[in-house]
């Protein structure tokens, strides 16, 4: 038993931490939230130079073939920023999905540019906000001579504005769920950023978009269980990102209890303020150890499906709760869009249901452990 990081991982961690401090000071994220410009092309380029895009991929496709835990250590630090943009959505999830689903030609064509940050592939999976699963895939792929037409609306696509192409789920005329890559500049695609208590999310409309057969992933477009396999390896990285974000919220909130003086003493002396911090710490550490235990299972080749769903449920809920409890400590000053607290608060609400709510993943965990009759 050894719950510490390896020397390499400590090194990865430091490099990523320095990067965040230098390139992505928290107040930037708050700027981005205000002007809705969360996509920073130069950040993708830099991440590519650091080798973080597709870093778990085999070297032949442009990756560094590192372990899931190695990769998670980096994304935990990125979460501290929080560093926005498609580093996870394209660099991890799309990359793993392409690796799982595609033919070697497709991999060779799609993955290297993705790893170099020349292309940004953004998953656009479900057509319904209120559910996560194949049942919520409704976009239609209709056959016509020499190809297909794609019609549908993906109401919430995370990082959509960064896309050079979309990794899209659709339903064939036979009702089968398939996956395809669509150039973001194809005629018939409209991207409409959302306004509200969320960030980096847009509606993507596919209106009679022409798709050629070779754009289907693999020979036949793969299927939902291919996506599940890709998610098994990707979701824990997203969890690590949320753990890092929660750690940052916990750290700057505890520090605030030492420096902020009210009624003649640091607020950290008040039991109620202490109790808010206790709750943050519990959500943080519950998420941290659920995540790293899952990563360990993956890296040691143990079955991990249920653990992955558990970690996603705990980490998304944990980040959400951590920001709410932090708001109890920060009160007014924490509600100013110029304050890092707001960057985390909005992001935590956005990630709560990204790729499925905690509730959905708890149910998937149960189904993995105790299949229903």
């Amino acid at each position: 038993m050894d719950l510490s990081l390896t020397e390499t991982q400590e090194m990865f961690k430091k490099v990523a931490a320095d990067f965040v401090k230098a390139e992505v000071p928290a107040h930037q994220m708050t700027q981005w939230y205000k002007n809705k410009q969360t996509y920073q092309p130069q950040l993708v380029k830099k991440a590519a130079e650091m080798g973080w895009l597709g870093m778990m991929l085999p070297e032949q496709f442009g990756g560094a073939e590192v372990s899931a835990t190695d990769c998670a250590v980096v994304f935990e630090e990125l979460g501290r920023g929080p560093v926005p943009g498609p580093l996870f959505s394209s660099g991890i999830l799309a990359a793993q999905m392409i690796l799982e689903a595609c033919t070697d030609e497709q991999r060779k064509a799609l993955l290297p540019p993705l790893c170099q940050g020349e292309s940004v592939v953004i998953p656009a999976i479900t057509d319904k906000a209120a559910y996560w699963g194949p049942e919520a895939v409704e976009s239609r792929l209709s056959k016509l001579a020499g190809g297909y037409l794609l019609n549908g609306v993906k109401p919430f696509v995370f990082d959509a504005q960064a896309a050079t192409s979309f990794l899209c789920a659709a339903r064939t005329e036979e009702g089968k769920v398939v996956f395809l890559v669509v150039d973001a500049t194809s005629p018939g695609i409209t991207i409409t950023p959302h306004i509200g208590f969320l960030v980096s999310v847009a509606e993507v409309r596919f209106d009679k978009v022409a798709v050629s057969p070779e754009n289907l992933l693999g020979s036949s477009g793969a299927n939902w269980s291919t996506l599940e396999t890709a998610l098994d390896k990707s979701l824990p990285i997203l969890c690590a990102y949320q753990v890092g974000a929660s750690q940052e919220v916990f750290d700057f909130t505890c520090e605030y209890t030492r420096t902020r003086v009210v009624f003649g003493q640091p607020i950290g002396r008040f039991q109620r303020v202490q109790d808010h911090c206790v709750e943050i710490s519990i959500h943080l550490d519950a998420a941290r150890w659920a995540t790293y235990e899952t990563l360990w299972r993956i890296d040691s080749g143990m079955p991990a499906r249920a653990a992955v769903h558990e970690a996603k449920a705990v980490a998304s809920d944990g980040y959400f709760q951590a920001t709410n409890y932090a708001h109890m400590v920060w009160a007014g000053p924490g509600t100013d869009y110029g304050h890092p607290m707001m960057a985390h608060s909005v992001l935590a609400h956005t990630l709560y249901q990204y790729l499925g709510t905690p509730g959905h993943h708890k149910r998937l965990m149960m189904d993995a452990l105790y299949p229903r009759a």
Binding site: A129, G196, L198, V262, F263, F270, A331, Y337
Partner: protein, 404 residues
């Protein structure tokens, strides 16, 4: 017991018809402006102007303060009349409280308690008639809940106070007429004895107002740079600011109560009936039904707390901890219901929908959870006041505050 809010004694039956008809008239063509989030976070000028206009018309009839003497802008009516006015307004989701952006509901009683005859005569009518807009200007950058630790200086200079300092997180997106302000007259003075209360005209030279962009919409920083305030605007006398503040806080913390039914749940149910997954309405999903049930029960509990506070205010029954209990419960309930909305509808709960009023907008319902954990104190001060009012760990319990 009778929970029916509009069972009238004979002498006001006619009055209810009159008020109902009058309000129907006012709302012609403005039905979309019914309901009140006490402060809208949308900076909707149409709504703002309609509210202020309605307030002015109510004020002209003395209906904003029906119990007040006419000379102070009241109508010299009975509690039963006030109940009629409140209940009829509630049918439009409004109440006589400071939903009219004027703060009159708090300022007027404080002036009655602490103003001189001259001040009442001059300051009260424009306020009780909602002709002027007053901002509560208390919070300071480093003050937080500890308002007695006031850094904004007001040094007496002949028949003026020279005010210097900064207040934050106050007001709304449109400018005020007066700044209802706590100031420090002597930085070296004893805590609680070095404070004064000023009713500062916002147009005075040296007053600068700057927008702040916050989770719950635009508020402002107010800067005072050698602002010379005539001494006639001093409320409650020299160094009596803390006593005035206490009256103010009692009113802010006591809670007015309300009897409107929150319309949010109906819209949630509509969403769940009209949203189908795999052809099946969400409303058939047992987990969704459980979430809706919990949400509904908590909204009902809040409605009952509000009605109880409301009734006790009129029946003059003591209810020492009703205000802080209601505020604490409401803050926590909003957080829970916001998460329930996201659990039910995912990101659909996070997108602003300008086609519906803010109080039934899911995005507002979610944002108001983390967004209103503070304001008139915090979760923590709510519970502090609860404990004082109930006398936990103390020999006696505090007496119930006057909140009407």
């Amino acid at each position: 017991m009778d929970f029916n809010v509009s069972a009238d004694p004979p002498h006001v039956v006619e009055f209810r018809n009159e008020v109902a008809a009058w309000l129907a008239e006012q709302f012609k063509g403005h039905q979309h402006l019914r309901w009140s989030a006490s402060w809208s976070t949308r900076e909707d000028d149409e709504e703002y102007k309609f509210r202020r206009g309605l307030a002015a018309k109510l004020g002209a009839k003395g209906w904003l303060f029906p119990l007040f003497p006419k000379k102070y802008g009241g109508a010299e009516l009975t509690v039963d009349h006030q109940m009629v006015l409140e209940t009829e307004l509630f049918k439009y989701g409004l109440n006589l409280s400071h939903v009219f952006y004027t703060l009159a509901r708090i300022v007027a009683p404080v002036l009655i308690r602490w103003g001189t005859e001259e001040q009442k005569a001059e300051f009260l009518p424009p306020i009780t008639r909602a002709e002027t807009c007053v901002w509560q200007v208390l919070t300071e950058p480093h003050g937080g809940s500890d308002i007695a630790n006031c850094q904004t200086k007001a040094i007496r200079d002949g028949d003026h106070y020279v005010v210097n300092g900064q207040k934050v997180m106050v007001g709304h997106h449109l400018p005020p007429d007066y700044l209802w302000t706590l100031v420090c007259t002597n930085p070296q003075g004893k805590r609680h004895e070095n404070l004064a209360w000023l009713h500062i005209p916002a147009k005075l030279p040296g007053v600068t107002i700057q927008h702040m962009y916050l989770m719950m919409g635009i508020k402002n920083a107010v800067f005072f740079d050698n602002v010379r305030v005539p001494a006639k605007y001093l409320i409650g006398g020299e160094n009596n600011g803390w006593k005035v503040a206490s009256t103010h806080m009692e009113l802010e913390h006591g809670g007015d109560g309300r009897i409107a039914v929150d319309p949010l749940i109906e819209r949630v149910v509509d969403y769940c009936r009209n949203t189908r997954i795999d052809g099946k309405p969400l409303m058939e999903d047992p987990r969704v039904r459980d979430l809706v049930a919990d949400m509904m029960i908590e909204l009902n509990t809040l409605r009952r707390f509000n009605q109880l506070i409301y009734w006790r205010r009129f029946a003059k029954k003591p209810h020492p901890y009703g205000g802080p209990q209601q505020r604490y419960f409401q803050r926590m309930m909003r957080l829970r219901n916001g998460e329930r909305l996201q659990a039910i509808m995912g990101a659909d709960a996070l997108v602003q929908d300008l086609s519906v009023h803010e109080v039934v907008d899911f995005e507002y319902a979610v944002r108001t959870g983390p967004g209103q954990l503070h304001g008139g104190g915090t979760l923590d001060t709510d519970r502090l006041i609860f404990a004082r009012r109930l006398g936990l760990g103390r020999p006696t319990t505090e007496k119930a505050p006057e909140t009407d």
